[in-house]
Subunit: 345 residues, 2 copies
DNA sequence: TTGTAGGCGTTATCAA
DNA sequence: TTGATAACGCCTACAA
């Protein structure tokens, strides 16, 4: 009943050769006669021989697989990044092992521990909203595990990083709202410990200042769980709507926050943008399809995935230690669309 | 510079014991003295010993990983299913290796070959739109690789399957359009070789018939690539709009087709539902957030993932061959909402 | 040109 | 209670 695959040993026995001869023949070594090679290759093909990757891994100390930690796959941005990761990885013959932190620090630590201990050759990670301390990753990095960060990065580890131009995106999104005539613009964003939170907040603030508007700290609400807990977002929105003067527009900092906010507004029977303006920051290409009622700032998520993977594989396969690390900032591609959501239920 | 992990051998040398003693002590064998166990475990913990999973795999012939083949991760339905798969797998200590067929038969074959050959203990798959022949999977199944199908299944392989109640979902979606007063309801669907295509078409047809409407074959358009090629969908929509009488509503059979159609209608400046009715079939929970202009039929995608994974792990870990296979049909949870998309650009 | 032997890290069997 | 040995499948000095 077990899945019996053919091995080098089987070929050797069948052809009355030694395993090393077969091994060499299979890899086309020049120290094997053409005749023997022909025989071995023919037999291998005929019996559909495939080297056992696990044995190869054990031998070479490389698993030909890369680990990925994201907070949640079921999120347009991350699934697009993973799409990019998978495409490049497959092309270079690496397996992709996916794990989710669900925005939990503990799960992030557990997943990183699990993925290391020799089972992956490298790690691609975007930090969880809860993560304030990256010692677990520093440890792995010091042990020599190649790591590439994307989107939610840390400055504490010297390695490659790929991010979007969060400042510029947030600046342009906010400026767009201002140009639409909104004056009291609120900001719903993620955990204060995330790199993206600060960068986007700075863009938001600068746009207000450049327009002569005074950023009011009461108008910025943090969601420590990055919107994973809807109640948190509901609370933030409710508090904003009770302020005086009431905000006339909202700049939401992520896909999850945007969609949750949109959904809450719908339940509250508040039309966008007739009653309140809404712009969402997004890194997701298809966002313009999925968010027909949002104005969005679009970033190439797919490219983040492909780039990160190329950099990681480069790290893995470089014989000599890499000393210079890149921090790649993908440029904002502002895409404004003003469809609106009419509420009629 | 290499990642040097501590091994059993290191512990044995340090404690002046044999590797087999250490191995047994680590697994708490009762044939080892308490004193020795204490020593070994203390040393192991102190030096953060982790067994090398690759060596264990080689030894046991099990990799503790499951392969997944979907057409595209960057698709709400599949990313939600994978979310479910990953959750259950992690809980049971399995790695999840993701691959995408991109709706290509060739890539599906290549991925399945790659994932088998001992690198995964089981396979969870949803067929590509191009796949007409499943010999590649029959081969793996016969070799003893446990397989579970979800959503896009085949009847040719006797194993567990998890699907949605496609007939009922399509029936209700179509009936809803009829109740809204639409009479010329078109249907844009996927490849004719997919199981879901037929099932959803039957539901659509039955709803029309039950309402005394005559299904017109010209009103059903197939997209052989499941909407992966936008041009295909554009063509289908264009042809539909040229028919006489022109359809007054469309029932789209999948997320990708729904969003593409919505996007095309927007470009054509055709409002939904003022100028044309639109209902999309979806298995995706968050669809009601993402498709504010669509009426949707909601299915528990997450549950498809968790269920499939539980069934697969059951197959993998069952000592005796499983003889009875389940075909689980998850029930439709119809969720109607009639927000509308006003076009103003 | 081919074969022998040892090892990658772990586990299982059998002997001490 | 512990240890020596072989084995999982593959690779590679080194010998023949």
């Amino acid at each position: 009943m077990k899945f019996e695959a053919i091995t080098i040993k089987d070929i050797a026995r069948a052809l009355d050769l030694s395993v090393s001869t077969v091994s060499k023949a299979l890899r086309g070594s020049h120290e094997i006669s053409d005749e023997t090679k022909r025989l071995v290759l023919a037999y291998a093909r005929e019996h559909n021989y495939k080297p056992n990757p696990i044995a190869q891994s054990l031998k070479k100390g490389l698993s030909k697989s890369i680990g990925v930690i994201v907070c949640n796959i079921d999120n347009n941005f991350f699934s697009q990044v993973i799409n990019g990761i998978e495409s490049v990885a497959r092309q270079k013959d690496y397996n992709v092992i996916i794990t989710q932190s669900q925005e939990s620090y503990e799960r992030e630590v557990a997943n990183s521990e699990h993925l290391s201990s020799r089972s992956v050759d490298g790690l691609i990670i975007s930090l969880s909203a809860e993560t304030k301390n990256v010692d677990h990753l520093i440890r792995l990095h010091q042990k020599g595990l190649p790591i590439v960060f994307f989107d939610r990065i840390t400055d504490e580890i010297p390695t490659h990083k790929v991010i979007a131009n969060n400042f510029k995106g947030a600046y342009e999104a906010t400026r767009h709202l201002i140009q639409q005539g909104f004056r009291h613009i609120a900001h719903i964003t993620s955990s204060s410990s995330l790199s993206i939170t600060l960068e986007r907040f700075e863009g938001y603030k600068k746009a207000l200042e450049d327009a002569g508007l005074k950023p009011d700290p009461r108008y910025t609400k943090l969601c420590q769980h990055g919107g994973m807990i809807p109640e948190e977002t509901r609370q933030a929105l409710t508090e904003l709507l009770q302020l005086n003067p009431q905000p006339d527009a909202i700049f939401t900092a992520s896909d999850r926050l945007s969609t949750t906010t949109l959904s809450l507004l719908r339940k509250m029977q508040i039309s966008v943008p007739d009653q309140i303006g809404l712009v969402g920051f997004t890194n997701s290409i298809s966002a313009d399809i999925f968010h027909p009622a949002l104005t969005s700032v679009v970033q190439p998520a797919l490219e983040m995935g492909t780039l990160s993977t190329e950099l990681l594989i480069q790290l893995i396969e470089s014989k000599r230690p890499v000393t210079e690390f890149k921090k790649i900032i993908l440029e904002t591609d502002l895409k404004i669309r003003d469809s609106s959501l009419r509420i009629n239920q």
